[in-house]
Amino acid sequence: MVENTWFRCSIAAAAVAFLAAVPLMVSAYTVSLLVSMLAYISLATAWAFFSGRTRYISLATAAFVGIGTYTVALLSDHLPLPMVLVIAPVVGFVVALGVGLATLRLSGVYFVIFTFGLAELIKQVVIWFEINQTKTLARYIFVNASGALIYELLLATAVVVLAGVWWLSRTPLGYALRVIGEDEMVARHAGIDTTRVKVLIFAATSAVMSLVGAILSLRYTYVDPNIGFNSLVSFQVLIMALLGGIGRLWGPAMGAIPLVLLFELLSGTFPHYFSIAVGLCFVVIVYYLPGGVMGLMDRWRARLRA
């Protein structure tokens, strides 16, 4: 067993080393596509770790990504980049802590609705603030970051997120989260402080989203509230996680890769049909792929054995 773990770890290390070298070998367009993939792998994995396990469907992804983007837009002129990239997740964590404390004691539907409006709400407040206080609506981001740097930063984030989920699933906190997802009443009777666990994990995964938003913003030279807080991001992350399968470590990543390619293709060729395609993806996944691709693979494997 121990040897097996060492074997797996060394394979993973080799894979990461290979992925880190990829920008040296491929075109700039491919790097930008891979950047999107890595970003969505982190976002979908973080989303699924909280929402997949607790069944509290969060649509606040766009809000936290936007918080990261705006932290960079506001601070990158005044502070060195590494410091800004530390501050962004902290801001996301603190906001999520507040949102979580206010809403996570309530039942699922209220949480969905509140998180759904959160991105829009923060966007309105930012627009109001920019127009009335700073008299500007758009901001420029003057950071010299190459595509390769963004890629390496996101690769590191994805590795940390996947390793973090793998490790957290094996700690008491991870088990507590799973029990809450199975039956919150049982969890409470077993002595789990359910609100604390939920708020903590919600804040931690939201911090990841803000970090990803901050790194992604280095791609832009120009940002306004509509770009920063694009609520479509929440839905894209949600279907990626559903497509892959939310209960498993690699599930969300497996969903993110094909859907990033599909969305890239759609926005390039049929931009008007984007929203219809997103909608149909939702319906098809719920009716035909309830456990995601990973669930489908499990069923096939079971059938082969039988």
Partner: protein, 289 residues
């Protein structure tokens, strides 16, 4: 005086919020389905009124003869063929809730996408009954007053229907306990479908009324879904008069906020109220106990 005008315009819009919350209450309170594509019927009703009026000069009120039956049948089909199979499949209430939320999100995107492809994303509107009217010294447009009167009349008719008829009694029984309702020979699946379809039809009416005095575009549906949800939560799930009152309250709060603080912050006011209600009285402002 300007303050009075702000309150008055808030009340006029608030009647509309009360009406759309009543429709959502039929879908969520009685049929027990959280339909996030709810607002798309409003978008459809508004566009029907717009095209009938601009292309053929047909009165918006007459366009409801087309849009309302379509919305009724459409919502009935969605309930019967898209949502009922999920009920049969679901292991428990949480799973069902998550599944219906996801499927209706999908429907929301499909409807919105079709409208975007067909009609584009720009804001539309038309001039209908834009006659100034003097109400207690304040000036308001006749179309707003007409929309308010129609919304409140329909809401009160619905309230009477639920309160004083046999059919309404059966529906309220389902809202309280769908299993026990079956024991007293109430056809729960049929009446739930009827309540769900009626909710959608009400939204088409609301869409027609809204289009008379507010501009709208293909992605407006979700805004009204959100407002309806907030009003239902403020008024209390299953409480009809409570929803009407809460609708008026939201309308006035929005108008006052726009007048006293900033018109760009209406959504912030919506959410502040929502959060306040959830924290202080999660069972709704107007429910007993």
């Amino acid at each position: 005086m300007v303050l009075f005008e702000a309150v008055l315009s808030g009340i006029l819009v608030g009647g509309m919020y009360g009406l759309i919350a009543l429709g959502l209450n039929l879908q969520y309170g009685i049929a027990r389905m959280m339909n996030l594509a709810y607002g798309e019927a409003l978008m459809g009703g508004a566009f029907t009124a717009f095209w009938f009026f601009t292309l053929w000069r047909i009165d918006p009120l007459a366009s409801m003869l087309f849009s309302v039956p379509v919305a009724f049948v459409g919502n009935w089909l969605i309930y019967r063929y898209l949502l009922t199979p999920l009920v049969r499949r679901a292991a428990n209430q949480d799973v069902l809730e998550a599944d219906t939320i996801l499927v209706t999100f999908g429907l929301l995107f499909v409807f919105q996408g079709v409208a975007l492809v067909q009609w584009g994303g720009e804001y539309r509107g038309y001039t209908y009954l834009a006659v100034p009217l003097n109400v207690l010294g304040a000036t308001v447009a006749l179309n707003r007053v007409l929309a308010f009167a129609a919304a409140v009349a329909l809401a009160l008719a619905l309230y009477w229907l639920l309160r004083s008829t046999r059919l309404g009694g059966a529906m309220r029984a389902i809202a309280i306990d769908p299993v026990a309702a079956q024991l007293v020979a109430i056809d729960v699946p049929r009446l739930s479908a009827l309540a769900f379809a009626t909710g959608g039809a009400i939204m088409a009416v609301a869409g027609t009324l809204v289009s008379m005095f507010l501009s709208f575009n293909a992605s407006i549906g979700i805004v009204y879904t959100l407002k309806a949800l907030i009003v239902v939560i403020m008024g209390g799930v299953g409480r009809m008069l409570g929803c009407l009152m809460a609708g008026l309250l939201l309308g006035v709060a929005e108008a006052l906020g726009a007048y006293l603080v900033d018109p760009g912050l209406t959504l912030a006011i919506n959410f502040a109220l929502f959060l306040l209600v959830l924290l202080v009285r999660p069972q709704g402002l107007f429910s007993r106990g």
